[in-house]
């Protein structure tokens, strides 16, 4: 075939696997074809279709930073047919990846600003990409604050990185677990993300907020951000509608006149507020 098959994935080798929680894994993936890897470029916020051949494709963000060359990482929870099959793969196995798709967090435009990340559970991976991207370009930003919560200590993902961020003098990290989810050794906060956020009361002046989490967390956190002085234009999120093709054809991520895959997944809440509530 002369023209490119847009549905043909890159073949990727699983270079390493981290068990984040009993049902969440992070894969580091390397391009089997080196020249494909050299030519591959992406930006923070973009996603891809990851596949196990014979089981199908699943949509996740690229969880690693574009500042780290030579690999991409994805973090997923074992839930459906494809993610269960993915979770059963081992280091050295081949999986497929199509991407990068979608728009990006405009971090080039955020030079000189402070960044506030507010996120919960398995919604940290899409923001982890932006966190590492901004930490790798640390001089470009003022304060960097991360508020991250999970149901329980066990459910926190990227535990080693949380530890690393906590030790850095140039990041303010607040971790929290839902009441009842704490352990004896837990040194972080206990409480829901919106409550903990309000208590921490980070400054909104010259600050971009990045909010990503389950629908209920978003719903309860937005009023707090508003109260803290954030305008909808300065609160960014990434929508996660169900997708198949990732390139605006299969139709299922359609919300109003937009496709989340092609016009998103990154939106400001000023934009989200204009959308029909179908996300």
């Amino acid at each position: 075939m002369e023209e490119k098959n847009v549905y043909q994935p890159y073949l990727m080798r699983i270079a390493s696997i981290i068990e984040e929680t009993p049902d969440v894994r992070t894969f580091r993936l390397e391009f089997i074809n080196e020249s494909e890897g050299k030519n591959f470029k992406f930006n923070a916020g973009q996603f891809g279709e990851y596949s196990v051949f014979g089981e199908g494709e699943s949509t996740f963000c690229i969880a690693s930073s574009p500042t780290r060359d030579g690999y991409i990482e994805c973090t997923f929870r074992k839930v459906g047919r494809v993610t269960k099959a993915l979770a059963s793969r081992e280091v050295g196995d081949t999986i497929g990846f199509r991407g990068p798709y979608g728009n990006i967090f405009p971090i080039d435009q955020w030079k000189g600003k402070s960044l506030l990340f507010v996120t919960g559970g398995i919604a940290l991976p899409p923001l982890r990409c932006v966190i590492w991207n901004s930490l790798d370009l640390r001089d470009n930003f003022k304060d960097i604050t991360i508020v991250y919560g999970a149901r329980s200590v066990q459910d926190l993902v990227y535990k080693h990185e949380l530890e690393e961020w906590g030790k850095r003098g140039d990041v303010k990290l607040i971790t929290t677990v839902d009441p009842g989810g704490e352990t004896k050794e837990w040194k972080g906060e206990v409480g829901f993300v919106p409550v903990v956020l309000e208590k921490a009361s980070p400054l909104s002046a010259n600050t971009i907020a990045l909010l990503c989490g389950p629908p209920i967390m978003i719903k309860l956190t937005l009023p707090i951000l508003t109260k803290l002085g954030f305008s909808p234009e300065n609160i960014f999120t990434t929508l996660e509608n169900r997708m198949k093709c990732g390139i605006g054809k299969c139709g299922r991520c359609n919300v109003g006149k937009y496709f989340v895959c092609k016009d998103g997944p990154v939106f400001t809440f000023a934009q989200v507020n204009q959308l029909p509530p179908e996300y």
């Binding site: 490119k4 994935p9 199908g56 093709c245 054809k249």
Partner: protein, 337 residues
Amino acid sequence: MTEKKTIKKSSLDELFKKIKSGGKRILAPVDKNGKILFEEVDSPGSVASDYIQTTLSAKDAVLPRCEEMLRFKTEQSAVAIEENFNTPEPTVIFGVRPCDARSFAVMNAVYTKEYPDVFFKSKIDNTVVIGVSCAKSDEYCFCTSVNGSPGSTEGSDILLTPINTDNYLAEILTDNGKAIVSLAPELFTAAGNEDKAKSLADVKIQFDVKQLEKKLPGIFDSAVWITQSLRCIGCGTCSYVCPACTCFDIQDETDGSKGVRLRCWDSCGFGQFTLHTSGHNPREVQSQRWRQRIMHKFSYQPDQLQVVGCVGCGRCSRACPVDMNILQHIKDILEAQ
């Protein structure tokens, strides 16, 4: 510049032979136990003679209901991807109704603009459309309300209009159309002043599609979506018979170490279409799905792609098992608050 010629109906036999010996297969409407379906034919003798509209459109020829988009072989930890599969067969589709011919524009807008889809593109590039104008219509037809007409040339390479019992007026519209004529130029005669219009069905304009497009964003929360869809059983038949529906699902199938990734028609009428892994569903109930169908075709697609996602063929109304009539529903939507 459109060339106008005439061709005898009896000459089609010879034309079909020339097309076939030129290496193209011919798909044409065939009567299969009362259902008029596009099938491969050898001669015009097999073509159904009396029908208003084919039961299914010719969409399947360029966007098969299920087609391979990837072929692979797995061997322990390695995977090999196969090239050169799902290659197009040069095809002439004969007897496409003008409404259906216009649906190719919708498919083109979805599949060839950004991220061109090679499977669709290679098929449409290898397809010649010989349309046949509508001399008859029924109460479900509304092509004229969505910018079409029973004699619309849009989407056809050649449009035939039966001007009397023995002859067609042939409008040669594209280079692909000219190439077909050049296979047997002796069969075509220069046209005189044949009156095409008098041979066409009279399809009255029943609503203003521009007004509909303008109105829809403002009635997202109207009760009309609930009222209209109370009897919808979410079977997806409307999408299945629609010549302009393009949404699809992707599924893998394996046979031992060999496997394929398939693209299959899907429908926004199904609850699973938008169901998230978490269990959250942005379109939880049938009224939201019915609204999506109308919004997508008459508001979002005109906005995104500058095409109306409906060609007025009426198939969804004819096929609906609970008798949801899109024409009536659109008229009611235009009255809705």
